[in-house]
Symmetry: C2
């Protein structure tokens, strides 16, 4: 660690989609996206990220209005120009970085259509290269002179990592193909994808249902 942060990207991206949003809206969007399943996007982290990024000038905080829908008053945020820069920089880094933090990659995939199609493809290709380089480095380093048996069951750990890296590379190659084949609508290709909940819309994924196999 610590490469790009998933929450920062998620929060920045969510606020950016709304134009102006308060914490609770962001929180709902992330739940809508299923981000609670694959990232550490709990309320506390979200509000913390908002405040921190406001302090750093990436967001502009409007000390604001009592709620329009009951509940305590709320603070609304907008992304600044600096915040937009950070957003794209974070997005690109997250697509390329192979640090096996799936939450970072997942977030970036969620926003990938904010990039032009060719750039997305180029970054994903760089990702594949990064994975292959990581694989080469690790296998060279940890499967040394005297043969792998020497490591005993410890070798299974490297095996696991290499196996996952390969799966990651394979998935990435598939995605590249789909994108090159014309799937999805990228930046500058008309009607952008809008993945936020409107003020009054209900969240179809909001549920208390616990999926079998989940660990809380």
């Amino acid at each position: 660690m610590s490469g790009p942060s998933a929450i920062r990207l998620l929060v920045l991206g969510a606020v950016r989609m709304h134009g102006r949003a308060h914490g609770y809206q962001v929180r709902n969007d992330l739940e809508f996206w299923g981000a609670n399943e694959w990232s550490n996007a709990k309320p506390g982290s979200i509000y913390h990220a908002l405040k921190q990024m406001a302090k750093q000038g990436l967001l502009l905080a409007h000390e604001v209005a009592p709620s329009t829908a009951g509940g305590p008053p709320r603070t609304e945020y907008e992304v600044t120009e600096q915040g937009t820069e950070e957003y794209f920089s974070l997005l690109k880094d997250s697509l390329v970085a192979y640090d096996q933090k799936m939450d970072v990659l997942s977030s970036a995939i969620g926003f990938i259509v904010d990039l032009p199609r060719e750039e997305a493809v180029a970054l994903l290709k760089k990702r594949v290269e990064a994975i292959e380089a990581w694989r080469a480095g690790v296998t060279a380093h940890y499967i040394p002179e005297d043969g792998p048996e020497q490591l005993g069951h410890i070798g299974e750990i490297m095996h696991l990592w290499v196996h996952s890296a390969d799966a990651g590379a394979e998935w990435t190659r598939g995605l590249i193909e789909r994108i090159e084949g014309g799937a999805y609508t990228f930046s500058g290709e008309g009607e952008p994808f809008v993945g936020v909940l409107a003020e009054d819309q209900e969240n179809p994924y909001a549920t208390d249902e616990v999926h079998p196999g989940d660990r809380e």
Copy 2:
């Protein structure tokens, strides 16, 4: 989160192997195991875990002796009975839990030979079941009535997760086969595997070399 913690398991396991160990020894072991590559095992976290677990009665702290090899005095730790219980409980949980935190699984694999062979196999089989259940739950929930196209590129995220889950299940099945086939030496099968560095031994993996593709 927050399922079992990787550092706690690693630290507990390292101290346990030594019988009695100070922080620097633990730190070296973890580096020897390559844990710095696949977990957040930085010095700060290690010392924190030691102190915390001592406070909780899992470790016994001996306020101790000036270093025998230069440097400041050091504190040595032993695992208590309660700590041993916690160790095995953590170990078993980590083997079964599918919360896609690879560091937790990796740590557990490192210590899997502390269990009897049949128990290890049983736990790994439970793991495969947990993965399959998770997969079933998630696909049912996130690929709803109106077909998956509705999700747009967001569907790729679930695709990624499912792909990784499948890879994880496949690897686990492979490991089960190898273990059932007699690989490695488990608890109660004679000469236990010893993976710690002796007091004077040099660490063959200690290196500043940066593997290509690494993100710091």
